[in-house]
Symmetry: C2
Subunit: 202 residues, 2 copies
Amino acid sequence: MARSSDPTRTRILTAASRLFYAEGIRAVSVDAVAENAGITKKTLYYHFRSKDDLVAAYLAARDQPNLVLFKRWFDEAEGALPDKVAAIFRHLAKAARHPKWRGCGFLRTTAELANLPGHPAIKIGAAHKKKFEAWLQATFAEAGIESAGELARQMLLLLDGSFAVVLLHRDASYMETAGEAARALVQAALPRRMRAAPQRSR
Amino acid sequence: MARSSDPTRTRILTAASRLFYAEGIRAVSVDAVAENAGITKKTLYYHFRSKDDLVAAYLAARDQPNLVLFKRWFDEAEGALPDKVAAIFRHLAKAARHPKWRGCGFLRTTAELANLPGHPAIKIGAAHKKKFEAWLQATFAEAGIESAGELARQMLLLLDGSFAVVLLHRDASYMETAGEAARALVQAALPRRMRAAPQRSR
DNA sequence: CGAGGTATATTCACTGGTCAGTATACATCG
DNA sequence: CGATGTATACTGACCAGTGAATATACCTCG
């Protein structure tokens, strides 16, 4: 059976990831993925039952690395809670300025497959976002924020909103605007005793 | 010359709109649009130079109606500015609960065509969102808000974020969360003298 | 008025190419 | 030997766009 560490499987997944993220799902043929991975299509179909399977695997492979990255940006940021949240947006804005940036793979896949509501890739995308939201909520709750759940949802809305808007306008400054809005909302939600003098950035 | 009121052209555009919104761009063939419009493919190509042209026309046709609708929701809402902004989200949440709702056509098209940065449809989508943002900014400025520009951008982020998140989770309650965040941000931005007692909704 | 022409609008049938997925066979290795 | 993995070559469906012909409406000039 093909293990997840299987080198051929990994090669396929790497190629699929690069192409699906860069071009979109329906724009990329299975032939193109196989060629890019340096194998034949039949070999690809030996490792993945169908293209839909491959798409789901592409997103599944991005789940953990993405979450880990976000958490690291948060953990390594200086300052109080609002600053640490804003740091995520700051790092994202930097990434969004790279010419190969194409928004959030999870959201773009969902948008493209919106006519197939039960598609496994969409479920993986939804689960990914839920995990991120749950982590935020827990972080906020630990900080003594009463409305941790609502605040986490607001952060998610700003985050995913900035993915969409920045992709549309190709203007990463929206991501910084989102970061400032996030900072303000977190600041306002902090319990009074923990609230430092609100420092307007810039 | 084919006028915009041309009945055949309108039929094509109606069919294209329905199909592209429901299924996505690349998932819908030109044949499918033609059949749905009750004409032959060649007739479609008489009225539109290419599929890309048709896609652009589909979005262009949605531009004004969408803006008008949003403005009407705002104008007809009771209450002060924060409530009027929140009303847009409330109406949108209601729309999002309809089974045929598939998010924002502009954003989904942009996401799907993200590998074609100069595509005319993307330009139309970007212009549409800019118009909405400009209208919001003007409205906020008239209300005496100093940071009208930044606030308008924040509203856009929340709005487009809720399109993305609600489409992903198929849970329209995120749109109400976005509305509450929008209300809070507008409330906080109002000049003191105009600020009524902030009323937490619910 | 009316015959002939011209631009508009539409149809059927087709092309060259791509797509997801498969049948069959060959190889490698424990 | 036989399980795992890979390759060549194929299938039937679909796709964007086109060629050639036809119908309709209007306009010009005898």
